[in-house]
């Protein structure tokens, strides 16, 4: 059983403030408990299958400037800087 304190800790790690614990913690707990079924799968010796790409197919090292000023399409800026809240 996954403790709700642990789930709350993870919510904090994911930077989400929670205010309705029933809607979140109870259901998250149920979801994770369902995943316990994975323990029954006989996969211990399994190797990962991955997509592969030869190095020659990678992008050429070339500078191509972006034609628009991205900053103008964004928010929270001061002059040319993006603003963020203070850091502790």
């Amino acid at each position: 059983m996954i403790l709700k304190e642990k789930i709350e800790e993870v919510a904090k790690l994911m930077r989400i403030e929670l205010d309705d614990h029933v809607v979140y913690l109870d259901r998250v707990q149920k979801m994770i408990e369902y995943f316990d079924i994975l323990d029954e799968a006989d996969v211990e010796s399994e190797k990962l299958s991955v997509q592969e790409l030869p190095i020659k197919n990678l992008r050429e090292d070339k500078h191509i400037p972006y034609e628009e000023r991205i900053i103008d399409t964004l928010k929270n800026y001061k002059g040319n800087y993006i603003r963020a809240p203070k850091m502790i």
Binding site: R15, M31, Y34, I37, E46, Q51, K75, N76
Partner: protein, 481 residues
Amino acid sequence: MNLAISGLKYIEEIKNGNYTIEEFVSKTLEQIQKLDGKLHAFLSLNDKAIDQAKKLDKKIQKNEKIGACFGMPISIKDNICVKGTKTTCASKMLEDFVAPYEATVISKLKSEDAIIIGKTNMDEFAMGLTTEFSAFGPSRNPWNHDYVPGGSSGGSAVAVRALECVASLGSDTGGSVRNPASFCSVVGYKPTYGLVSRYGLISYANSIEQIGPLTRTVEDLAFILNIISGIDDKDNTTVDNKNEDYLSEIDAGVEGKKIGIIKEMIGDGADKEVVSATNNAVKKFENLGAKCEEISLDMVDYSVAAYYTISATEAGSNLARYDNLRYGFDFPLEGFEFNSYISKARKNFGPEVTRRLIVGGFVPSAGFAGKYFLKALKVKSKLTAEVNEAFKKVDLLLAPTVPICPFKLGEKIDDPIALFLIDFNTVTANLTGKPAISIPFELSDGLPIGIQLLAKSMHDKALLQAAYALQNTVHLPEIQL
């Protein structure tokens, strides 16, 4: 003029001058005006659609070259970037986000003179399978407004079925195109992983998802796939399909083909109406000259757990960028410290997204990754090996798209495990990268049931040929709109 025609028929009508693009687009907009208050398939409309139609009509008048779509009105799921328009992912988090660039699929459609008619409703960030998790209200099933249209590309399926567009692009992470296609009775497609560029698709679980079309016929689907597929230098995961033509030889038939029926997908969890429809589909394939046999895939029983573990982990990372600093909604940052600000801002995610983000923080975390995330990756690998093995024996795999019949709004929204199991038949194609299609097959109590086919990677053409053969055996009653 009849809106209830296929895309290919539409092109023929325009070519023959039976009506203008403007006439068809206006009629489509009228249809949206008339129905969308109830159905809520759209989140935003293209207010320049008529102007664009007029321009194309002029081109035709002047005998100028025009793209293959001839102004076909196509709708786009609201998680695909269309330059200069709002792309919200049906989330309050991106309520004001205007995409500053074009997704590759949109560039390709536009260069063939498709008209983007509007952006369709969805479950927030594509997390859901009923479209009830849209932050802007649910879409409704056009066959019966009390029922969910499926999801997460619910708006796209509704719009295509309700004649609010000719075709639509959705995205399929665990069944998000095929599920609503099945519930609304349209054709829905999840291409081979890498066949269609994801550049401009807002990621949910990037290692398994693909953009896929929703259409009223299999031929239309092949037509759209011809346009949007192919290697893209903006997406390192795309593969070269050598400009395959999916429409030519679509009537090749299934004579002599071997089809495996996935046993686990018509097991205890499946509704009897769905099982009976599946048996009927098998009979039809046998009548068409295919050989059908039952096949077992052991890992399917763990596929939903593996899918949610992997998708939540990737979502937890993909959605981390929504900290409301560079784009997002209006929420002043003065007086806040960084972490408290973004934790408050991220309360704007809806409840299902929030739950999955927490799950996505938990399952790959130190101390739990071995039990959950790594196991899930291994299930994914073993499932892929099993499916590859099956494809040595058979050409195609068959299963109902969704194990249960469409259900009412609100019926399952509070039961996360019940919702999980609705994905039982669709996630295998995503976890293994295989192409899969849902074909409208039957109506039960006036609600649609779809049949799903899977093929080997990069055998999309053979898959569409089989789907076409099945489609031609199906004659459903007209929908009352």
